[in-house]
């Protein structure tokens, strides 16, 4: 029987040859990811259900990356980190990345890739909805709640309904002004925030396979914004080169069979697409940047697992080099590694860090920061009636702080161009 890549990976994890869409199957989990917001309640449930002295099923497979509320004076947030530290200590978890030490990484989905936890063909569950990001590596990754995570901690297993797949093919060669963020916002505008609920979103086509890993991660990252269970891109030589630069662990590459069944198929030519934004207050509220060009903004925010990777800052630097921003512009590297890279990666002979500083941007320490609002003292948090252009992934009311603020989701190119003019601006005006 022909299967999609998602079916094949789930079949492997269920010790089966074939699984059909719609079946509930029990999966063996390769990695469980958690962070500071959902880790402590997950550990509480684990202890309550398996007993105070219970041990996790496999310490090597539990990855704990605090990232949400890090640089804040909020005591409850600090207590959460203490609880992670305590649990990691009790259980002897080798993959705990403690705050305030040189092991600290930053945003979990980007750190997973950097630390070599993303391996083609594997199954990852995480207590964070953007766990689908890892699907860029030809693996299955999806978000779950604390109860499910606690169940995995004790048993290494979880049930899941095998999703139907939707296929999104992007033909053509990517123009310089277009980014993965524009592609996914395009799809969201077409299918809506529940257009892929309970389904896999599979990305294919020449344009997708021309993208570097970090851009691919932007595509799969926002699968959840369409309600998708997972986003997935089959592994190719670019994936293998990335993975091999991080780890020597074994992996297995799966691809969809030519005759595999899809719920639906969408096809785009990237040459016909334009830079787009998602207008307030929904990620599917798409408009071309041209059509809203000139809308005044009060802030530009370049950060998060969607738009705070090195590749995102390379894009932003193309526009900010030699220019000045005219609104508060927050540069929030997703991870410590990205922050370090800003100091050594260059664009036209100047380091990214120096480009951003000379442009007048404010560079923050790596964490989720204002992507999800966070405690009142969080860097970049929106206040009052802010109008923000942001490379993050959600613009629901209040997501970045103030309930009265409006957030336009965009590519790093558009966020940088708009930062310069103080108005929503098509990056083609600068390229």
């Amino acid at each position: 029987m022909e299967q999609t890549i998602t079916q094949k990976i789930l079949a492997r994890a269920a010790n089966r040859k074939f699984v059909d869409a719609g079946e509930n199957v029990w999966l063996n989990v390769d990695i469980l990811l958690t962070h500071d917001v959902c880790g402590p309640p997950t550990f509480d449930i684990f202890k309550e259900e398996f007993g105070p002295d219970a041990k996790v099923w496999d310490p090597e497979k539990v990855v704990v990356l605090p990232d949400h509320y890090i640089f804040t004076a909020n005591e409850h947030a600090h207590r959460n980190i203490d609880l992670l530290r305590q649990f990691a200590g009790e259980q002897g978890l080798p993959n705990y990345y403690d705050v305030g030490t040189d092991r600290y990484k930053g945003v979990c989905h980007v750190a997973l890739a950097e630390e070599g936890f993303n391996l083609p063909g594997t199954v990852l569950f995480g207590t964070d909805s953007h766990t689908c990001t890892s699907g860029a590596f030809g693996m299955f990754g999806t978000g779950i709640g604390n109860t499910d995570a606690a169940f995995i901690l004790g048993t290494g297993k979880l049930w899941e309904k095998v999703p139907e797949s939707m296929l999104f093919t992007f033909d053509g060669e990517m123009p310089e002004y277009l980014t993965a963020k524009d592609l996914i916002l395009q799809i969201l505008g077409d299918i809506g925030t529940d257009g892929a609920t309970y389904r896999a979103m599979e990305f294919d086509g020449e344009a997708v396979f021309s993208l570097p890993m970090e851009e691919r991660m932007t595509l799969t990252n926002m699968a959840i914004e369409a309600g998708g269970m997972n986003g997935i891109i089959a592994a190719d030589s670019i994936t293998e080169a990335y993975v091999r630069s991080k780890t020597t662990k074994p992996y297995e590459i799966f691809r969809s069979d030519p005759g595999a069944r899809y719920h639906s198929k969408y096809r785009y030519n990237v040459r016909e697409l334009e830079p787009v934004v998602a207008q307030p207050h929904s990620p599917d509220n798409r408009a071309t940047v041209r059509s809203v060009q000139g809308t005044k903004i009060t802030k530009s925010y370049i950060g998060s697992c969607t738009g705070g990777k090195l590749e995102d800052f390379m894009l932003a630097a193309k526009i900010l080099k030699g220019r000045k921003v005219s609104v508060l512009t927050n540069i929030v590297p997703a991870t410590v590694k990205v922050m370090q890279d800003l100091e050594c990666e260059t664009y036209q002979g100047e380091t990214l860090k120096s480009i951003f500083e000379n442009a007048g941007c404010s560079i923050a320490l790596p964490s989720c920061a204002a992507c999800l609002g966070g405690p009142a003292d969080t860097v970049g948090r929106s206040v009052d009636n802010d109008i923000v252009v942001s490379t993050t992934n959600r613009n629901f009311p209040g997501r970045m702080g103030s309930k009265h603020a409006g957030v336009y989701l965009s590519s790093p190119l558009t966020a940088a161009a708009s930062a310069v003019t103080g108005k929503l601006t098509d990056p083609r005006d600068f390229l």
Binding site: D44, R79, S129, G145, F151, W159, T193, Y198, G227
Partner: protein, 188 residues
């Protein structure tokens, strides 16, 4: 498990995301210390813009100022309820506030799983556009065996979609109770 759920309806629109159900700034409270747990009740659905809470009139808070529990126990909403983040704090906060069931046209996957596996609230789906028919404050009666909901205020009966595969988990009261019952995990 109860077979009848009766209570007042609280009506919402579509795409109610988890930031509206429990805004991120409150996630720092403990989910196990009673004095902090009640904060989840206090702030349940506090992120819903006021005019969109308690339809059709709107401007009805789910939990009154100063209270920790809601007078409404059945939430009625449009499609894509619970979209957004994976925070289990969302169905948890609804439960703490006193909600027993939700009737929506559809759910986001993670929220739905959390409701079921955590045994917090029962997530019913319906093909009817109930959030345009039912009014906040109407008295509803859900018959779990019959998969129906009756609006006692207007004396009308509506069908709910059967819970299907997940009914056994809902009935057991969550994934742990279910797994013990089915011998899927070592006894803790």
């Amino acid at each position: 498990m109860e077979t009848i759920i009766q209570g007042k309806a609280y009506v919402l629109g579509k795409n109610i995301d988890t930031d509206q159900i429990i805004p991120a700034e409150h996630l720092v409270y403990s989910l196990s210390r009673p004095e902090e747990v009640k904060m989840y009740g206090k702030y349940a659905l506090s992120g819903v813009p006021l005019p969109e809470g308690g339809l059709p009139e709107g401007n009805v808070p789910f939990v009154k100022d100063g209270a920790f529990e809601s007078e409404y126990s059945i939430i009625v909403a449009g499609p894509n309820f619970g979209c957004g983040s994976s925070r289990e704090h969302a169905p948890f906060s609804l439960k703490v506030a006193g909600a027993k069931a939700i009737i929506a046209e559809s759910y986001a996957r993670i929220f739905y799983r959390n409701c079921v596996d955590g045994g917090f609230v029962i997530p019913y789906e319906t093909a009817e556009h109930l959030n345009r028919i039912v009014k906040t404050g109407d008295e509803l009666k859900i018959d779990i065996g019959a998969n129906t909901v009756e609006n006692l205020t207007t004396e009308t009966l509506y069908k709910l979609n059967p819970l299907g595969d997940v009914f056994s988990i809902v009935k057991a009261g969550g994934i742990f109770a279910y797994a013990r019952q089915e011998n899927l995990m070592a006894q803790g």
